[in-house]
Amino acid sequence: MKRNIKIKSWILLVISLCLFACSEVDNYNGPDSSFEGRIIDETTGEIFVTETGGIQIQLEELSWSETPSPQHIPIKEDGTFEDSQLFSGHYLVMPINGPFWPLNQGIELDINGSTSHDFEVLPYLKIENLEYSLEGNTLVLNFNLKAPISEGLPNVLDIKPFVNITNYVGNGATISQYSDPNKIDINAAWDSEMASTTYELRVSDLKAGRKFYARVGARVDDSFKKYNYSQIVEVDVPSE
């Protein structure tokens, strides 16, 4: 009897193996291609000043479907992007979700092996002549705003300081009590007065004896409301 059961279970096992075994080989290649590049500021030809995730590259795989679901590559803090796990194919790509004049349409390209492409975009605003000083443990930031194109520019929303203890600093990485209360609301259309004003942001009560990384951001009321940033400055607050 026991033997019988054993034989039965062997037969069952063999049958189920037969049922589940696959004879067909998957004919798709894995996601073995990569796409990388940089975002370039059209006004300077240099890399666009941003923060981690401050822009996204949208990819639509046209060779897969006429109406593909978009995929996104977030940008790194140095203005470059890279995704090394993409399927080879024909894509429509476009930088979106960032503080620049929207591109009318993306570009179509084949991603195969390691493909690279740089995008040129035009920032809404630029922060220029940034100067900083410490008054005791208050950080004072002075700067000018410049709009490469002023016609049709959405309203300027606000200017804001960002402060962090590492050089990853921006709207997504800031110490909120140094940042939020020191924002200045502008809420107005761009005009010549804004262009000639020297703005001042102050961050008080910085902790003594610490090193901070700080920058300034300004944004307009477009679809994404992302900040255009200044370069990052290092601030050493002296010990008391």
């Binding site: 709207n171 909120s176 994404f224």
Partner: protein
């Protein structure tokens, strides 16, 4: 020999059986209706059948009640439907709650009720075909009710997605081809117009009165008042603040601003139809606080226009009592959503600081409620409020002594400082005194208030504590009440420049609430909106109001919300209240693309004609 014969007989028998079997199966036509499936003729032939069919439709209507979640829907038969604290208000700072941010709910839950719409269309199609069974009037009333239900379903779609396919006939598969069934999106304005047409027919055809759980002529007018106001504001404000994209260029989302006036006019006229039919609840105007509390609990309220009922026996009971106040007051469950100081101060600033900047001293917690509008006290439990003879002993911590200003203490919110004691548990004592109250505010977890307040609206204070368990609350949800119609009326009238009509409606509301009335010079659109947010607080309107006014991305822009944190000062034996961040210090941001939810991915996969998706998705 005999044996052989028997064997032969057996074979013979077998043959006979087989032959009979073949004959039986082969010749009869099997045209008998299955007994276990209810047929159309059982339903559309008699009144009970149609009424039962309606009961099924009402069960599927998208009522945003106690249980509704912006991120998970209507939770029908869902095991998680006890968690009333997943309140849409907690995505917006009306409350702070379990949601980590606005993102958690902004994408919706992929609501796509075309099977429910088909059920209604099927009725609209079949009723006239069975007209011989009923009077003409009866058929008309039912058709009107069906148009109402269809309008309610489409309203719940268009406010989420903008334009979606308008299906008004019964689709059939496989009789129709797949291509035929892949209907493209209609323009947003066309959907709103379709809703208006359905509601006009409903108003025309339906009777004047009905059971409170069912629609009638006036319920349809009230829904039209709401829907057309939504559309009017989307036309006026959404056209100024929006995300551009292909769907907007095609009119699939967005309404031309030129349509705003007509839409406001339609809303206003619909509101006027209800004049004299319903009234504000004023049974106890000698005690306006109690009056406002009872408005939400009295089944005989003349203010309730359309309600949804719950019962223990049918298993539909909800858990509002068990999950909107803390366990200290209830028999089971826990709370996680709390009104913010921003919501409370819509009613006026709380005066807790002296001119010199030092916090005011209070002998008792409940002294904070002195001089506060009765409606606010009836909507929110304050520190020192009572429920079921238990005090909300809300206390954030103990100061051994306090000499400075309020401002110096707030903003940083570190767990402990010299002279200041906070705690995570109610059994922590300092010099024999409990550091935090049984009802909060704890440094640990969120099952006690994070803001110093609890929701009071709809809490059944008459219920014994022992019966405030999960799935034991049966108070009705008021889907539409007359106060909302007055607020719709005020807003639409003001947008049309008819200030006097707006003023009368607002002052009716204010008078019942125990608030001071305003003069026509003081009346602004912001005043009207603020009145709406106060009157309808926690009733699941705020999310949609923020969206249709196109201000959500301003109100929720990296925003933190505040609480009113009571502290006990040991050496003075007094209380102070500090207005500080709610204890989780969460940040809420509404991205502009959230003004419309994305068309659900699964539907896009089934029907490519739904493209383009809404902008930025």
């Amino acid at each position: 020999m005999l044996v052989f014969k028997l064997k032969k007989m057996k074979i013979l028998y077998k043959y006979i059986v087989v032959v009979i079997g073949v004959l039986t199966v082969s010749c009869n036509d099997l045209d008998v209706d299955p007994l276990n499936i209810i047929q159309d003729k059982d339903i559309f032939n008699n009144e009970n059948g149609v009424e039962a069919y309606f009961a099924g439709i009402y069960n599927t209507l998208p009522v945003e009640d106690f249980i509704y979640r912006q991120d998970a829907g209507f939770m029908r038969n869902d095991g998680g439907r006890w968690q009333c604290f997943y309140h849409p208000g907690a995505l917006t700072g009306e409350l702070v709650g379990p949601y980590g941010s606005t993102y958690d709910g902004a994408g919706g839950f992929g609501y796509w009720p075309y099977s429910d719409i088909r059920t209604v269309n099927y009725l609209i199609h079949n009723l006239p075909e069975n007209a011989q069974n009923f009077t003409e009037k009866q058929i008309g009333e039912w058709l009107g009710e069906a148009y109402f239900c269809r309008a309610f379903l489409y309203f719940s779609l268009v406010k989420r997605y903008g334009g979606i396919p308008i299906i008004k006939d019964v689709q059939n598969y496989p009789e129709q081809s797949i291509e035929d069934l892949q209907v493209p999106r209609d323009k947003e304005i066309d959907v709103w117009n379709f809703i208006a047409d359905d509601l006009d027919m409903a108003i025309d055809l339906m009777p004047e009165s009905s059971d409170k759980g069912r629609a009638n002529k006036y319920v349809a007018a009230a829904l039209k008042s709401r829907a057309m106001l939504y559309a009017g504001t989307i036309a006026k404000y959404g056209s100024q603040n929006h995300v551009s994209g292909e769907a907007r260029d095609l009119g699939l989302v967005g309404i031309p601003s030129a349509k705003a006036e007509d839409l406001f006019r339609q809303s206003l006229e619909a509101s006027r139809i209800l004049d004299g039919q319903y009234s504000l609840y004023k049974k106890r105007m000698d005690d306006k606080e109690q009056n406002y509390v009872d408005l939400f609990l009295d089944p005989e309220s003349p203010e309730s226009i359309w309600v949804k009922d719950y019962s223990l026996t049918s298993g539909s009971a909800h858990s509002w009592d068990a999950t909107m106040t803390c366990r200290f007051m209830t028999a089971d469950g826990l709370s996680r959503s709390y009104p913010t100081l921003e919501t409370v101060e819509r009613f006026g600033e709380l005066d807790v600081v002296n001119d010199d900047g030092t916090p005011k001293r209070f002998d008792n917690l409940s002294d904070i409620t002195e001089g506060i509008e009765p409606r606010l006290l009836a909507s929110v439990y304050f520190p020192g409020s009572m429920l079921r003879d238990i005090e909300f002993d809300i206390q954030r911590g103990i100061y051994e002594q306090f000499s400075g200003t309020a401002e110096d203490e707030i903003g940083l919110n570190p767990p402990n400082e010299q002279y200041r004691h906070l705690a995570g548990s109610t059994d922590v004592l300092f010099e024999g005194k409990q550091v935090i109250g049984f009802t909060g505010i704890s440094t640990n977890g969120d099952d006690k208030t994070r803001t110093g307040f609890y929701v009071r609206k709809y809490i059944d204070y008459n219920k014994e504590q022992s019966s405030c368990g999960l799935y034991q609350s049966t108070q009705s949800w008021i889907i539409i009440r007359y106060a909302e119609v007055l607020l719709n009326r005020a807003e639409a009238a003001y947008e049309l420049g008819e200030v006097d009509e707006a003023l009368n409606a607002i002052n009716d509301i204010k008078d019942r609430a125990g608030a001071g009335i305003v003069s026509s010079g003081e009346l602004t659109i912001d005043e009207i909106r603020n009145e709406r947010n106060k009157e309808l607080a926690f009733e699941k309107h705020y999310w949609w109001d923020l969206k249709r006014w196109a201000i959500a991305d301003r109100v929720l822009d990296n925003t933190k919300f505040h609480g009113l944190l009571p502290y006990y000062i040991l050496d003075e034996d007094k209380y102070i209240f500090l207005k500080d961040f709610e204890t989780f210090q969460r940040t809420y941001t509404f991205e502009k693309k959230f003004y419309y939810e994305p068309i659900p991915g699964g539907e896009l996969g089934k029907n490519p004609n739904l493209y383009p998706n809404n902008p930025n998705y």
